[in-house]
Symmetry: C3
Subunit: 152 residues, 3 copies
């Protein structure tokens, strides 16, 4: 199965990539590495506002995290032109909008981590860091950035 | 215009780089990538203390962010010897010292992002992540680190 | 002295690397760079729970940070097979679990930074970013991730 067949089999439709409204870009390629900007969780196209441990449950956070991963895939697709050329998902950084008492950032992160493995298999097994952010732009509950390696 | 002419035209004088007081360095080059350490916002040579959403306004944060970008340029200059050799500003990470209610980290980030584009043009268009930190060393209101690519 | 002799001279025994319980890996190599996942501080094999500025002192944080560095060395050892092949410790990111008033993240970071230099000498001098996280997975007081360069 190609990566696109796997994405379709998961019932996922890659969204259009919204260009950032500021003076930065969704991704930069340097050598074989693609650095993807932090993507925030959205619901119905708007920031998914809330904080884990306050008014967003871990289950909701996992769903939000998976949603961000889909947006990251769409940006990667734009960056590479063909997701089958992704050699490895290298690193994910998870900024979980967290009340001072919330300590399940790793569970929230799994929402995106699992999707990467479902889509890319072994090549989707990544290094990662997950932690609690005091806040996230637009009040979104999760932000994730990513480094991927492309075939030469 | 060379990069230095652009910097001068913006009325910017690159500061001396203060070596860190601890067991780390301002930058490390690995291959064509330069990894620059987190630089904190300063005012008159001292940490610019404060927290967004508490006692630092978004406008002040933007100014602080731009100030950090100038310090990052000075460190890049030290790293490369000639800023015209910077091929691309790859990635910026913004740690905005944020009260739990402050959600405009992206606006604060623009202070530095805009300067990068003013100085490097298209090569200054970077990927970035911005989020709220619970605190920043010395209580500074903004910290930024950076990855840049150098010509071979 | 080899790196292993230096580690032994510091009285350090590298621990077994515990594989992550989720769908990610402790490290990914891409080209000559090794990206190591965030490692949390542990005490007696369990998460070292607490927050700087609340119930963990700076001195304890420094000790926790050094402990994480030892775990990072063990993971690097697993990644490379021979720590003498590490060309450079490139970058460390420190997520210090911080109450909103704690501003000594740089001191906590020194615990790990100093160990890197004790073990690798000049090749251990790294770029770094340190800041306050609102929380860390499992409530651990410190999390650190790392990028290292390997000899070709």
């Amino acid at each position: 199965m190609s990566i696109y067949e796997k994405i379709a089999a998961l019932g996922i439709v890659l969204p259009e990539v919204t260009p950032p409204v500021a003076v930065f870009v969704p991704f930069v390629r340097s050598g074989n590495l693609i650095f993807v900007s932090g993507h925030i969780a959205k619901e119905n196209g708007k920031p998914w506002v809330g904080q884990l441990g306050l008014n967003v449950t871990t289950e909701q956070g996992i769903k939000a995290s998976r949603g961000v991963a889909i947006d990251l895939l769409a940006t990667l697709n734009l960056a590479v032109g063909d997701l089958n050329k992704i050699k490895r998902i290298v690193k994910l950084m998870f900024l979980v909008n967290s009340a001072p008492t919330f300590t399940e950032q790793h569970l929230v992160a799994n929402g995106a981590s699992e999707l990467m493995v479902q889509v890319f298999g072994e090549n989707g097994m990544h290094a990662r860091s997950a932690f609690g952010a005091a806040q996230v732009p637009f009040g979104s509950c999760v932000e994730i950035d990513l480094i991927a390696e492309v075939e030469e």
